[in-house]
């Protein structure tokens, strides 16, 4: 009990650092969830400049605005223009050249537009095929005697006639809100716990402190168990905080969604894994700084490989085959199934398999901690 109490005394002494780090993690979580994940957004971001200024070209620009999002950019600032394209703030830059209307009327379509784009991108091909379709239709109409303005108008009207698209997947948009938070939990839990537990254990596992403790009547086993128990309490508090933030930020969806119980069970198992990772990192690193670096390597590495920052269905098969050896993979895989967000539909067998795999990682990590602590004791470092 004495070691347990000491753990929290030390945590209290470093409360500022821990709270500050938790606040940064929450900030990261909130910012990321607010950005959303629009990798596959189908309304493209287009920068348009109309040098023709005719009624036909204006109608074409209106069409682009109706079908996509026009982003205002300074066409004179080449650097800014390129930055926007590189960062995909705009996916296509187009100038409707002077003489567009006359060219259309005369049936000369060559060089009607000057463009800058990401080569071979789906966005460029999609947008170009839409424009080609409009120009072709307008060409057909001008060939039939219609004036360019009306031709573009009618071509645009025809292009805007959408088709019926039916989604056969069941999905409740509300659950999506908490999905983002549960996904990010795969990173934030590791990031927070490695630093929070690392700060305390840097003191508690200091060789001088440990030697003095072990020289007393306090048994090494009791000491390690107390450290573990206290780390568990700290982890539980972190979990409650993160779930509280999720509940608040999702307007209470967490309390009502049918997906919540499964997601909570999944997150609790992952929390245990994160705690064990944090304890293991604290055992092998000697300072907060090294614990932080190690935590970043493990947390971010797993996050990138297992679908936290980049959706799992965008990662290649080889990457996913490798990721199966990481606990975050099973956590995220289960999450995707629970919220029907991936390519794999929910199956209770597969969900149980994911939980079992997480359980296996819990056992493996615990064994690793025991091994490291034993080896440190035998080396008289701990």
């Amino acid at each position: 009990m004495q070691a347990f109490k000491t753990y929290f005394k030390i945590a209290g002494k470093h409360m500022f650092s821990i709270i500050a780090y938790v606040a940064i993690s929450l900030f990261i979580m909130t910012m990321q969830s607010s950005i959303g994940t629009d990798y596959a957004e189908t309304r493209l971001r287009i920068a348009v400049r109309d040098l023709d200024g005719s009624a036909a070209s204006s109608r074409l620009v209106e069409y682009i605005d109706e079908n996509h999002k026009i982003k205002e950019v300074d066409f004179e600032d080449g650097d800014m223009l390129f930055d926007n394209l590189y960062y995909r703030q705009v996916q296509y830059i187009i100038t409707v050249n002077e003489g567009f209307s006359e060219g259309l009327a005369a049936g000369k379509t060559e060089g009607l537009f000057t463009v800058s784009k990401i080569d071979d991108s789906f966005a460029a091909q999609l947008f170009e095929s839409q424009l080609q379709s409009i120009v072709t239709s307008a060409e057909a109409l001008t060939a039939a005697g219609t004036d360019p303005e009306s031709a573009v108008q009618r071509a645009v009207e025809a292009a805007l006639e959408g088709i019926e698209v039916e989604s056969v997947a069941e999905q409740t948009p509300d659950s999506q809100k908490s999905y983002v938070y549960f996904t990010l939990f795969g990173y934030t839990s590791v990031a927070i716990l490695v630093v929070a537990i690392g700060i305390v254990l840097a003191v508690m596992l200091d060789s001088k402190v440990v030697h003095r403790t072990f020289a007393s009547s306090y048994s090494p086993t009791r000491y390690i168990v107390s450290v573990f128990a206290a780390s568990g309490v700290l982890a539980a508090a972190t979990w409650l905080l993160l779930m509280g933030v999720t509940a608040v930020k999702t307007d209470g969806v967490l309390f009502t969604a049918s997906t919540t119980p499964k997601a909570l069970v999944n997150s609790i198992l992952y929390l245990i894994i994160s705690t064990e990772i944090a304890v293991l990192v604290a055992f092998v690193s000697k300072s907060v700084m090294t614990a932080h670096i190690a935590g970043n390597v493990i947390g971010m590495g797993m996050a990138f490989l297992c679908g936290v920052f980049v959706p799992m269905d965008l990662l290649g098969d080889k990457v996913l085959a490798f990721s199966r050896f990481l606990p975050a993979f099973w956590y995220e895989y289960a999450n995707d199934m629970i919220f029907s967000m991936g390519d794999v539909p929910y199956s209770s067998v597969k969900f149980a398999q994911c939980l079992a795999m997480e359980g296996l990682f819990i056992v493996l990590l615990f064994s690793a901690i025991l091994l490291v602590s034993r080896s440190k004791q035998s080396n008289k470092e701990v």
């Binding site: 650097d79 690193s285 490798f322």
Partner: protein
């Protein structure tokens, strides 16, 4: 005395094997993770791939069938049409084997069924393209129908216009010859992050000259060596150590991970040097400020680098541009953003002005931090050590 201080500080820093090991391992492991995760991701997020669909005909539609045959044949085919009955197609759609089912109904009505439940699913891209194909087909058919109705004599000319190639419609203007792969940003950020880790060296130097914070510093304080000389020697050693680690990291990213960093690789080392100076000076300020313990100061340093990394786009690519637009001051003073900007300008621009601006910014921050750290540590006297 400066050389003496430099020599022993350098020895002490490079003998901190744990920190050295993790500083190197950070880039090596995370860089390898990035390389594995992002190899081929551009193809799945941005580039076109063959789209698997099933076409279910309720009524015959020869022109549409011809279009489907054209799009699903040849080397550059856009579609792969799977033969299936209605039930089979639905099952395949549910299993993710198909991107969409195209239903060709009576009276030429064509609709689409998808299973994309995710806003982030790559199949959404494919669905947009299939949708666009059908909409274009419908639009052209509608236009020809209108012309046929209004002026049947003009129909042949209109059909010819529709059949004509309009591929010369677009003239491309290249804005840069640089590597347009957006995922290279992660590597820029990774290198910047590995450089900023030298913050810990700066913190160590500052802690080593404050007698109330460590026994070593207490011994240094009672020695005749001037504190400024001791600090300067320590800082120079920290810069050299950090710079060497950064160089190894850059070489690893370029030659082992085979990441295309552009044609001006030597200038990356200039950035690494300026960045290391900046990081060490920032660490010096953090280490000098207040009477917080070593662990607390380390924690502040880690928070600083984590937040800086996040704001510069280490975790999510869009973040950098969002901060540049919404909070330009934070973007301008974030050390990681500045370093990133220098790598980015080296890789993308022929012009040097942006690169020079980044280097000057780093040097200004370094000078300010060094001055602040020196003011905080100079002439400190202790009643008891």
């Amino acid at each position: 005395m400066f050389l003496h201080s430099f020599k022993y500080s350098f020895k002490s820093l490079i003998r901190n094997k744990t920190l050295l090991f993790w500083s190197l391992l950070f880039t090596i492991l995370l860089g390898t993770c990035f390389k594995i995760a992002f190899s081929g991701i551009t193809e799945s997020t941005e580039n076109l791939t063959v789209i698997k669909v099933a076409v279910l005909y309720e009524a015959e539609n020869p022109p549409f069938e011809e279009l489907m045959t054209t799009l699903s044949s040849g080397e550059d085919k856009l579609l792969e049409i799977k033969e299936a009955t209605g039930e089979q197609a639905l099952e395949m759609l549910g299993d993710g084997e198909l991107a969409a089912i195209i239903d060709v109904g009576s009276e030429g009505k064509i609709s689409l069924r998808t299973s994309s439940s995710s806003a982030v699913s790559s199949s959404n891209i494919q669905i947009s393209i299939v949708q666009n194909i059908i909409e274009q087909y419908n639009a052209k058919a509608a236009i020809l129908e209108q012309i046929g109705r209004e002026d049947p004599l003009a129909l042949p000319a209109a059909v010819q216009a529709v059949a004509e190639d309009v591929s010369g419609l677009f003239t491309e203007e290249k804005l840069s010859d640089g590597n347009m792969d957006v995922y290279i940003q992660y590597f820029f950020n990774l290198i910047a992050m590995s450089i900023i880790m030298s913050i810990s060296f700066g913190t160590t130097v500052a802690l080593g000259i404050q007698g109330n914070l460590s026994p070593l510093a207490a011994r240094r304080c009672i020695s005749p060596t001037r504190k400024s000389v001791s600090a300067l020697g320590g800082l120079c050693a920290a810069i050299v150590s950090g710079f060497l680690i950064s160089c190894v990291n850059i070489l690893f990213v370029r030659f082992v991970l085979d990441v295309d960093l552009g044609k001006r690789l030597p200038m990356y080392f200039v950035t690494a040097f300026a960045g290391t100076v900046m990081a060490v000076c920032i660490g010096y300020v953090i280490g000098s400020a207040g009477n917080l313990s070593e662990n607390s100061k380390d924690a502040i340093a880690t928070m600083f680098s984590t937040l800086g990394g996040f704001l510069s786009g280490l975790m999510i690519l869009d973040m950098r541009m969002i901060i540049a637009e919404k909070a330009p001051i934070i973007h301008m003073i974030n050390p990681l953003s500045i370093m990133f900007d220098s790598f980015y300008s080296l890789s993308m621009y022929d012009d040097w002005s942006r690169y020079i601006r980044s280097i000057v910014s780093m040097l200004i921050i370094s000078a300010l931090c060094f001055a602040a750290g020196s003011i905080m540590t100079r002439r400190q006297k202790y009643a008891s050590l």
